[in-house]
């Protein structure tokens, strides 16, 4: 299955481009889905170590607010993205140095707590953040060009797709590397790592920073796509949504998060249109079905189908 990943990734990308072309109003939805997929990829790394973060939306929020603050002065996407990503990564390092001492419920809840601190700061410091109103994001340029609306949408879609590929490839290599495999070892036998001379905390920290970086990139894309940032980006329900998507997509491979995010956003948009207030119910049922009947998530279902077709 791992061997088929590159091919499936290309097929998936082609499908996304096709949909974005055929249904222009979905271009926006898919860009957001790709961005969320990036953040969820970070959740997946931590899941490999058996750790669940219920606060990772804070790094997306940091990425988004960096874009919102910096865009008026320096509105170039190709600068804003690395800037937002770098600052989110730096925060991930600072928080991670502390948080990687903890495991399981403590790890989950500390992430949640810190993200809620950030949320209240974004909400309370009205003078700087405009509180719950949020900040409108100034239009950005792409390599110096200021395209009109439709081209700008395509540009954001392309950036999201490229970043999904780039980070997806790096994450895939990382997971197969000694570092990534040691990360999975934290889940099953952390003490053994220590008795092999491997600092488990630093292994987890590397994954944590990587996950913050990807969430930061996701936030930057979301800010430039939606052109509006609010504290809700850091709220715990947003973090929960990322974990939800991770489980929906499946933690078996790096395509799971993107599969999950695309499915999530499409269900959400269509369910919201069809039954207004009931879309959360639809999502809840979808998650329930996945947990009960496909614990490997959508990616696991796909992998099983794929094996059956080949056999």
């Amino acid at each position: 299955m791992r061997r088929a990943e590159p091919l499936l990734a290309l097929a998936g990308a082609a499908a996304l481009v096709g949909i974005a072309y055929a249904a222009p109003w979905l271009r926006f939805v898919l860009t957001i889905a790709l961005a969320k997929g990036l953040a969820v990829l970070g959740i997946l790394l931590l899941l490999k170590a058996g750790q669940v973060s219920f606060g990772h939306a804070m790094y997306a929020a940091v990425g988004a607010y960096v874009v919102a603050f910096a865009a008026p002065g320096m509105g170039e996407a190709l600068v804003l993205l690395p800037l937002a990503t770098g600052i989110a990564g730096l925060l991930g390092l600072v928080v991670g140095l502390f948080i990687t001492r903890y495991r399981e419920i403590f790890f989950s809840m500390l992430n949640l707590a810190i993200s809620m601190v950030l949320y209240s700061m974004l909400e309370k410091f009205y003078a700087i953040t405009k509180g719950t109103d949020g900040i409108r994001v100034a239009p950005v340029t792409f390599a110096g060009l200021s395209p009109e609306r439709e081209s700008a949408e395509w540009a954001m879609f392309a950036i999201a797709l490229l970043l999904a590929f780039g980070f997806g490839i790096v994450a895939r290599l990382y997971l197969a590397s000694p570092m990534g495999q040691a990360l999975a070892g934290i889940k099953t036998r952390e003490t053994r790592l220590e008795f092999m001379g491997v600092p488990a905390r630093h292994v987890l920290l590397s994954a944590y920073v990587f996950s913050a970086v990807m969430a930061g990139a996701a936030g930057a894309i979301i800010a430039m796509t939606t052109r509006h940032v609010t504290p809700l980006l850091a709220y715990w329900t947003t973090s929960g949504e990322l974990v939800f998507i991770a489980i929906l997509g499946g933690a078996g491979g790096v395509l799971g998060p993107f599969l999950g995010a695309a499915a999530y956003e499409l269900i959400r948009v269509h369910a919201a249109a069809a039954f207004a207030d009931l879309w959360q119910l639809t999502l809840g049922i979808a998650l329930l079905l996945v947990i009960l009947f496909a614990p490997g998530g959508l990616w696991g279902v796909l992998a099983r189908l794929f094996r059956r077709v080949r056999a």
Binding site: S177, P178, G180, A182, G185, R189, T191, R192, M196
Partner: protein
């Protein structure tokens, strides 16, 4: 029968030589550690000589594992000191101690249960080589080959693709030791390496292990309940009882001591019989 006697005679000459007089590798002085009222270490003094195979025997609960735990940094003694190659290592972390060339295997195997046997071995090899290469695969050729070779020496080739949580106890035990050996330590502490290994395979396994360790000039300390294994492979035997060392010397002397026989071997013999 005669074939195995021949092997055993050869073993005695080749492996069971007198303690090499090459200086002290590890020195424990006055180690004390109590858990509540239980004195798991009650004044342990022991010098491990460079190059020797030292067996630790004694009834369950005597404090054998506790000694290994203190030596490898898992437990901190409440009093006393441990020196390795002349430097104090008391209270260092397991990681710092491993980096000094002291590895251990576990009474209860500590494997990465969701990884295959090959990946377990590969992780240990990678740990030795340095794991901080995020883009090169764990199972790259040089690591895979070394892991295969290592597992072959432990007779684990047939199950190298099996997940560690599917193995029987003997195989888990061997994989656990293989991982410690993969670190290429100078001193290896093994906690009951042969428990769980089928009686029919035990001697062959220990023989292989002894050869691997001799070839690499590894000093070994091992907790053992099988007196045949002790008699055949240990240069010296330390007898543990209630947190103390009650006898220490060559196997021939110690194992024939009536007191040791009554107190320790009686119990252990029953276990391995």
């Amino acid at each position: 029968m005669s074939a195995s006697d021949d092997r055993s005679a050869e073993g005695r000459e080749g492996l069971n030589r007198p303690p090499p007089d090459q200086g002290v590798m590890l020195e424990a002085r006055g180690l004390r550690l109590a858990f509540g009222g239980v004195r798991a270490a009650d004044g342990i003094d022991l010098s491990v000589m460079r190059g020797e195979f030292l067996a630790i025997i004694g009834p369950n609960g005597a404090g054998k594992t506790t000694f290994i735990n203190m030596t490898t940094g898992y437990l901190r003694p409440q009093a006393g000191s441990i020196h390795h190659e002349g430097e104090r290592i008391t209270g260092l972390s397991p990681r710092a101690i491993v980096r000094r060339g002291i590895a251990r295997s576990f009474q209860l195997p500590q494997l990465f249960t969701e990884h295959t046997v090959l990946e377990n071995a590969a992780l240990a090899i990678a740990a030795r080589l340095g794991i901080w290469s995020p883009l090169a695969p764990l199972l790259r050729r040089e690591i895979r080959e070394e892991a295969r070779e290592l597992l072959a020496r432990f007779g684990l080739s047939a199950i190298e693709e099996s997940r560690a949580d599917t193995l029987n106890e003997g195989a888990r035990k061997l994989a656990d030791i293989a991982m410690a050996v993969a670190l290429k330590p100078r001193l290896l502490l093994m906690d009951e390496p042969t428990s769980g290994v089928a009686a029919s395979e035990k001697m062959a396994v220990v023989e292989t292990l002894a050869r691997v360790l001799r070839d690499a000039a590894v000093t070994a300390v091992f907790v053992e309940h099988d007196m045949d294994v002790v008699a055949r492979f240990a240069d010296r035997v330390a007898v543990w009882s209630q947190g103390r060392i009650v006898a220490l010397g060559p196997p021939a002397t110690v194992l024939s001591d009536p007191e040791v026989q009554r107190e320790v071997i009686g119990v252990s013999g029953a276990i391995h019989a």
